[in-house]
Symmetry: C2
């Protein structure tokens, strides 16, 4: 809103429309506000918006799921356009929201929900509309990326890197959704659903966070020529099934996504016509998000002047199936802590061989005099289910001194 | 057109419209065609399009300026939407084209004119509509970038690198517009005009090409920590004047644009709200351009269903003035070939000092036993006019053995 006032004259000149802020709903009317806010507009009643027929566009930036979902549905039913940055709500309820929007012939716009100021929603929805998407890879959570960057550049462990991110305001007091992968997963679900034309069920997405990544993993990856990133991978498989996963992933240092550091986000799109395109920018923060909301406001205004067909999401269901998580294929990084005695490597290699999982490379640095030694393997393409089961079996071997650490590797082929 | 047929079902499902190709104008009806082309649609008469009231959208990909300009103007007057990839026509005649489009209430769409498949026009026009643009930097000519990349990576001189680009199909038989900077300049003019809301006169843009860059310049730049790129710089100066220049420029190796290699294009946008955002992709070629044309076709179709205000370009003229080329400020790289005798450096430094141009750094590698020695200076911010005049005076010193080479440096501050 601060940013709407700041560039109001320019925006209205560019668009030829005038924006009037009618109401601002807040949780706590008594909280002190920025002097730019006209306190006469404040209310703590959502109904003050829903029941005002003059209000044509609502901007929902509440957080949470149930309250905004009920509000958004009522706003749509009242014929109001909705602009939202609520990725969790869209990822979990996109299907019903857009079905309702279609029936009510209003648009729901959500550029702010994915990758902050990067206009990736409009790119996928409009600019690349003539493409079949072969893959979309994204670094979609700035907090995780900041932590991994500090772990890489300064050799920090996860906990102090998280503390630093919190001290700098890059991580919330409760960082769970950021570091457990689900914030990025919500964004990946929205992107994948838009690209493939059907709403992806969160249960069909493989998600894991960065909490268990250690500085040692980052060093081993570095020695192998990789960086570890919380990577969102969206891909159409042979046969047309869609795979979506958001997991810490080893990516080659030479790939441009390996150079996306700190709180930045990036999305690499591969379309069958456009080829490779990459978008990069600030993924979070008040201002980049505001830029996306203003872009959506402009679109909403032009839709008000000329109602269009598309409600912001069009189901086309060309593919319509997610690949079961257990069947998704990947290369893997496996770090084991083993007893330092003869025959151990043979035992591990034997178990992998019996599961038909090929070994790409092995690093066994010298360990401490006493105690377990680290053993790092990179492994050929294998289905996730079989790989996880095999890692579990390996973990049960008597020579194992800690839980195996299993990470995906991505070669972008 | 091949690509429209390829993904027609998907595109029509996503958009809910049906595209019918009514006519294809070609120069030579007898030329053999791809088997996907329905020869019954071919004509060599532009009037067959202009006089057909059923045709609502025309796609102009002719090349040249006068013929397409006359055609586009007549199509607009006939109420047809125009999609064009003709950057030279738009850069030189954008003002009259969009004025006519506004009067006729049709849109002219031109995503394909700038940076191939990268959706930078829609990003600047729509997604970032709430931003004031502080700067836009672009690598907008793939041919020049390929040549400079090869000169950097393989130490080649300009001429053989150009020959290689031609052999690989990255450069036209007549590569003039690519290597003399004007292809990139046309794109920069379009971007700058869209961002600042008034049509920039080509005469107010500083343009120079890469023909005179030598492998030695690239080595010296490398030693100083820079890469040489044909960089388009668009910037609003204090006081609101706009500067547009397209010149070979030293950019710090650490900046992301320094890593954009080969035929790739990139555009870095700095908005007052969104902050820094970067777009990267294939800048030319039939397929990336086709992706942009298909995106524009989708937009044209939605505009046909619901006529909108904006004609593809909105004059707002918040700034409305270009900074005179002579007043534009930059740091510079200056390579001299001087006589190897005492007092030469003092003479040069004295002349720079008299012009109030500060020296940032000096490299004087050992030269050959006999003959001139290279002397490379980097220079503090100076107005272009004064810098050029000073370089000219330096060139007239008796100790000078060749024309001074003067290049811009950009620090992206």
């Amino acid at each position: 809103m601060k940013n709407l006032e700041r560039n109001r004259a320019l925006l209205e000149q560019r668009l030829g429309v005038r924006f009037v802020i009618r109401r601002i709903v807040v949780r706590d009317l008594k909280k002190p506000r920025d002097s730019t806010v006209d306190t006469a507009l404040l209310t703590d009643q959502l109904d003050d918006i829903l029941n005002d027929p003059e209000i044509q566009i609502v901007v929902e930036l509440m957080g949470g799921i149930e309250v905004p979902l009920a509000f958004v549905k009522r706003a749509i039913q009242a014929g109001k356009m909705v602009i939202t940055g609520n990725k969790a709500m869209l990822a979990e309820h996109g299907r019903e929201i857009f079905e309702l929007a279609r029936q009510s012939n209003v648009a729901v716009l959500y550029e702010a929900a994915v990758a902050g100021g990067i206009p990736i929603i409009k790119a996928v929805r409009d600019s690349f509309v003539g493409n079949r998407f072969e893959s979309i890879h994204g670094i979609l959570n700035g907090t995780s990326n900041y932590i991994l960057t500090r772990m890489t550049d300064a050799g920090m462990e996860f906990a102090p890197a998280l503390e630093e991110a919190q001290a700098l305001g890059y991580a919330e007091a409760d960082p769970a959704l950021d570091v457990n992968g689900w914030d990025a997963a919500h964004k990946a679900i929205i992107l994948a659903s838009l690209a493939y034309g059907f709403w992806i069920a969160p249960a069909s997405v493989l998600v894991s966070g960065i909490e268990n990544i250690t500085a040692a993993d980052i060093r081993f990856a570095d020695a192998l020529g990789y960086r570890i990133k919380l990577l969102s991978t969206i891909r159409v498989e042979e046969g047309g099934e869609i795979e979506v996963r958001v997991v810490p992933t080893l990516i080659p240092k030479s790939h441009v996504l390996a150079s996306v550091n700190g709180v930045f986000n990036a999305v690499a799109v591969r379309g069958d016509i456009v080829g490779d395109a990459l978008f990069y920018g600030r993924g979070a923060g008040q201002d980049p998000t505001a830029s996306s909301v203003l872009g959506d406001l402009a679109e909403a205004a032009s839709r008000l002047r000329a109602p269009q067909g598309c409600a912001g999401f069009t189901a086309h269901e060309l593919y319509g199936q997610c690949r079961p998580v257990a069947d998704a294929i990947s290369k893997y990084y496996l770090r084991l802590a083993v007893e330092d005695r003869p025959g151990v490597l043979a035992q591990i290699a034997g178990l992998l061989g019996a599961s038909d999982i090929g070994i790409l490379s092995v690093i066994q640095p010298e360990g401490p005099e006493d105690g377990p030694v680290p053993l790092v393997l990179t492994l050929h393409d294998a289905p996730h289910g079989r790989m996880v089961a095999t890692a579990k079996s390996l973990g049960e071997l008597p020579c194992m001194k800690a839980e195996p650490v299993l990470l995906h590797m991505e070669s972008f082929s």
